[in-house]
């Protein structure tokens, strides 16, 4: 086995020091009844060439790297070359969680930069070092709101990503959380704020909306905040497309912002690994789940960074912790940090404006279901051909189409959710429009 760095002579030498004769003596103390009855049926160990060949063949069976108009929580954005070059460095790739500050300043500083950039981007005052992904950030944010308000009800707009809502349901079921799901306005595609207002009461811990929402439509965060705050509830704003905040006013009126950073140079990778984040106001910092890096000094007065406020975390608080989260997504969050650094202040704006232009070009060519303002995603009404048929035709031309919405919203079964990023070419968008229009 090529990953085992010992010769048989060395093994014998070590065994001799231990007074043992064979490797099997190492587990002779195990009761007979727990021992493996026959060897594992996993075949012989494979060479590097066989492994690459195996995955190359599987890789070839996927339709990949084609023009893609899918969004819905995972976006096809260009990944700058520097991202893989830098996260591929063994010092980042093969380091552990930075508990030992003296030999982890690299990871700690990049996380501190991540936290800072996320605050700058979202308009919040503190951000954690990342959580698993956007979908799991949602129940964590809701739990946080419950701890702050000491209330047990959450009002959720059904324009929040359906799978995020499903994850929330799974967590909520056994945590005594009551959820009320509200609808959307039929012509704008925006969350129905009147219904949210009716549902929000003195028992409500939080109102949960997403902006841009699952339909790509920008929500009225200001008004949602007023509704929530009028009843003493918090406003949680979810995002799945952070590139939007290059041009879109961030949800400054929110109390908690929870989102997914996949758009920031994290490959779609069939759904993961991604990186989520939770940001909030300074006054709620002690209720924030997940790791946090803080600035401090060493004993000689030099500036340094370390993990901080760890008393919120499970390894100290055990069953009373703010969350059971242990691992975060440090390496993936680093991709996002490098992405934000490469594009920077002007680049992210320019990138966002390109997305806006592309999506509006495509939207201008097909019937739109909603007229609420949108960023790089929108709902197209496909009246002539069924959405699945549109996608099948596009696939013949080597294009991955949009998301048929019927699986999540039965009333939208003749609709497609389309996303056009900076990578969408005009000729491909024309092909999408033709397929929808039945030409």
């Amino acid at each position: 086995m090529r990953y085992l760095p010992k010769s048989d002579d060395e093994r014998r030498e070590m065994l001799a020091e231990l007074g043992l004769e064979s490797l099997d003596d190492l587990y002779a103390h195990l009761p007979e009844e727990v021992l493996l009855r026959e060897p594992l049926k996993l075949g012989p160990g494979k060479s590097e060439y066989e492994i690459t060949d195996y995955f190359r063949r599987l890789s070839g069976r996927n339709v990949a790297g084609r023009p893609c108009f899918l969004g819905a929580g995972a976006y096809c954005h260009y990944r700058p070359v520097l991202v893989d070059v830098l996260v591929g460095r063994g010092e980042f790739l093969t380091a552990y969680t930075p508990y030992q500050a003296e030999i982890s300043q690299g990871t700690l500083m990049t996380i501190f930069e991540f936290q800072t950039m996320l605050c700058q981007l979202t308009g919040m005052e503190v951000a954690n070092a990342s959580v698993y992904d956007g979908s799991t950030a949602v129940p964590e944010a809701v739990q946080m709101a419950r701890r702050i308000t000491r209330r047990d009800r959450v009002v959720v707009a059904n324009t929040v990503h359906p799978e995020y809502r499903q994850v929330l349901e799974t967590y909520a079921r056994h945590q005594g959380l009551e959820t009320a799901v509200t609808g959307y306005v039929r012509d704008t595609g925006m969350a129905d704020l009147e219904e949210i207002e009716r549902e929000t009461d003195e028992r409500t811990a939080a109102v949960l909306i997403q902006s841009p929402n699952f339909f790509g439509v920008v929500e009225d965060v200001r008004q949602a905040a007023e509704i929530a705050h009028a009843k003493g509830a918090l406003l949680i704003v979810v995002f799945t497309e952070p590139v939007a905040y290059g041009v879109l006013e961030p949800p400054r009126q929110a109390d908690i912002v929870a989102g997914e950073l996949q758009s920031f140079a994290i490959a779609p990778s069939y759904g993961g690994p991604y990186a989520g984040v939770i940001a909030t106001r300074q006054k709620y910092i002690r209720q924030l789940p997940g790791r946090l890096v803080g600035r401090t000094k060493d004993i000689e007065g030099r500036g340094a960074y370390c993990l901080t406020l760890t008393t919120r975390e499970q390894h100290i608080r055990r069953e009373k912790a703010t969350s059971n989260i242990c691992t975060n997504q440090a390496l993936v969050a680093l991709m996002a940090t490098i992405f934000m650094t490469v594009y920077g202040k002007r680049g992210l704006r320019e990138l966002a404006e390109q997305n806006l232009a592309k999506a509006h070009y495509l939207a201008g060519k097909v019937p739109q279901k909603f007229f609420g303002p949108f960023f790089n995603e929108f709902v197209a009404h496909s009246a002539v051909r069924k959405p699945a048929e549109v996608n099948a035709r596009l696939m013949e031309r080597g294009i991955v189409g949009g998301l048929p919405l019927g699986r999540f919203y039965p009333e939208l079964e003749d609709c497609l959710l389309l996303c056009a990023t900076e990578m969408a070419r005009r000729e491909d968008m024309d092909a999408v429009a033709e397929a929808i229009l039945g030409r």
Partner: protein, 495 residues
Amino acid sequence: MIKKARQHVSQNESLIFERSSPGKRAYQLPPLDVPAVDPKDALGAGNVREEIGGFPEVSEVEVVRHFTRLSTYNYAIDHGMYPLGSCTMKYNPRVNEAVAALEGLRWIHPYQPDESVQGALEVIAALENALCEITGMDAVTLQPAAGAHGELTGMLLVRAALEAEGRPRRVVLVPDSAHGTNPASVAMAGYQVRNIASNEKGMVDLAALEAAVDEDTAALMVTNPNTLGVFEENIVAVARILHAKGALLYMDGANMNALAGISRPGEFGVDVMHLNLHKTFSTPHGGGGPGSGPVAVKKRLEPFLPLPRLVNEEAGWRWDYGRPQSIGRVRAFYGNFGVLVRALAYILAHGGEGLRRATLDAILNAVYVRKKLEPYYELPHKAPTMHECVFSDARQAGRGVRTMDIAKRLIDYGFHPYTVSFPLIVKGAIMIEPTETESKQELDLFIDAMISIAREAEENPELVKGAPHMTRIRRVDEVTAARKPVVRWTREEEK
């Protein structure tokens, strides 16, 4: 004498914000092939933001140097031994990175139709099969994003199964040697945690267990080998006691690196368990993630696994959402697919025999370290060691040298510290897990370093208590950091 390390120059580097100046750039977008859109027209003037205050503006070469310099401040498995007990810091084979980066595996969208991702689904199916074979369990979900997420999923499965049989019960037993995530996950699944004490061998005490288990007990959550690196020799009896009262046995698979290829939890009574692909199956820790925490179950729990489930039909692999008893989703999409690819590559490289050899070498290394260090450090529990061993600082404490001091001194010797002060049942714990991917030379250097530090603790305790001495920064003030947390850069702060 310090043999493995010496000081060398490393570049200073400020935060990226301090390198920023207006007009510098590291990007260039292609020309727009469609008409530009005025954001105010498209979004409404009130929805358009001002510039992102404080965001960096730097050049490409500065980006490269910035992150390269920062990277050099880290210790990493690529530098050397990382004996963190319970964390299984083993070598991360680079072919795993190469295959995970194949365009056909990395550039696929989770909502592509099943027929366009058959290769990806095959990866998932192959890994599910391999993990069933390794654990002796009947079915696996790959959806949980990390170990603690797997624990929560597993506990929700326990609850769903018991609910389906009548009532979910109220209590989950957790040994006092458990990882902190265990009680936290139990609480999140809506169960009460009851701690049970270990016996003098550091194992689950059968009498205490028997007394604790009743009709209100949903499960026992046990780590095996436990956090002392000791195999629970009565595990079959433990399972029998639980099953007799209708309770389930949950195994935290964090220490599966001691069992792969020699023993299968599914054959010693475990009903549900999670694995950490970033431990046993060598996917890189990446400075704290991404991980992946698959959950393996016995047939009885299969109907409750998270949605969707992968099924094989004539037309190929397909996601099945029609599972009415499922606990629901625990994560969007299908789990950390990129991590799954790496883990499968690891398993393929080993094969069945290779996994067994890896396990044996992991035990050999731990037993060897234990034998060599026993004359110098207190070994509170004498039961046979599997993949890790736990000493205490009892002999050094008399000179005022504690486990954290010894750990920090190891840094000067060129090693990452071991796990400090865990498990909680050992006062001043020194928890060492070498893993199988350390050569005899590296192990001997580590042993030398530990012995040398034991001597320093006798002869010059202040040297150890002040360590590390050779690092860029010395010990940090964590108390002030927590009292007045500064968790972001601001322009004012720099003044």
